[in-house]
Symmetry: C2
Subunit: 154 residues, 2 copies
């Protein structure tokens, strides 16, 4: 992604703090080595009438895509690891509300390629639990316990 100016980084930090989300989901998927896909996302939400402004933010960041929901909300979704890492590193100094989440998210992205064993994967899943606790996430079903149990059953 693009190198942002300091004020653009600070703007996006404020926008993400006010209106965005940093999360990681564990999705059961047998084509992955440990049976779970690790799906990290950064998402910004806005009313569809603000679509053109969200396009501007997308151009500023230079990655991701817009997704219209049925409830009148447009999501601007980032899912590419390189883009998300670069963005978070640039905006980290300016984040206030989501600084902890951003730090942990980066740590998880950094740890992910180093996972070799089931034990490593469980440690990673626990870090994702911690991230979702910081997010006060309630809609989460696949956590480190589910992962651990699925390993034990094999």
């Amino acid at each position: 992604m693009k190198q942002l100016s300091k004020t653009k980084s600070a703007y996006i930090a404020g926008f993400l703090d006010g209106d965005g989300s940093i999360y990681i989901r564990l999705k059961p998927n047998h084509s992955y080595h440990f049976g779970y896909q690790i799906a990290p996302n950064i998402v910004f939400y806005q009313s569809q009438r603000n679509l053109k402004y969200l396009e501007q933010i997308k151009t500023m960041i230079g990655g991701g895509y817009l997704r219209k929901r049925n409830d009148g909300i447009v999501e601007y979704v980032l899912g590419d690891v390189a883009t998300m890492s670069s963005l978070l590193k640039q905006i980290l100094p300016y984040l206030i509300f989501k600084k902890k989440q951003a730090r942990l998210f980066l740590k998880i992205l950094n740890q992910k390629p180093k996972v070799r064993t089931q034990a490593d994967f469980i440690i990673l899943a626990k870090m994702i639990d911690d991230l979702e606790k910081l997010n006060y996430s309630k809609k989460r079903f696949i956590n480190s316990k589910v992962v651990k149990d699925s390993f034990t059953r094999l």
Copy 2:
């Protein structure tokens, strides 16, 4: 209010774009010369669990107050004209979503002390109509037409 650094201004611009509101209400009040109080506000909204971060934004800006609602939302409310003018002028270069609203809001605040006649007041009320159109406001009952009609009845 305080003079903000460029990155703090940009952060608050992003936060306001994502999560805030710039509006003016006309409140019927007979103690005012034309029978209406002009009540401008800038408001930021957050979940109560983020109260401490909203306190930080308040300290950064150096004005306004926090108000807990019954639905778990905390509002950080600015109502002082000097503070709001100073803040908007500083963050204006960085605003994306709410740039038009901010410009019109400043224009209205600037025009307000110059109002001498009922005709002047109606022009001001029409500018407030325009602001609320930009805000897609639906909960608005007192508009320039109501003001005009009340003047005609006298």
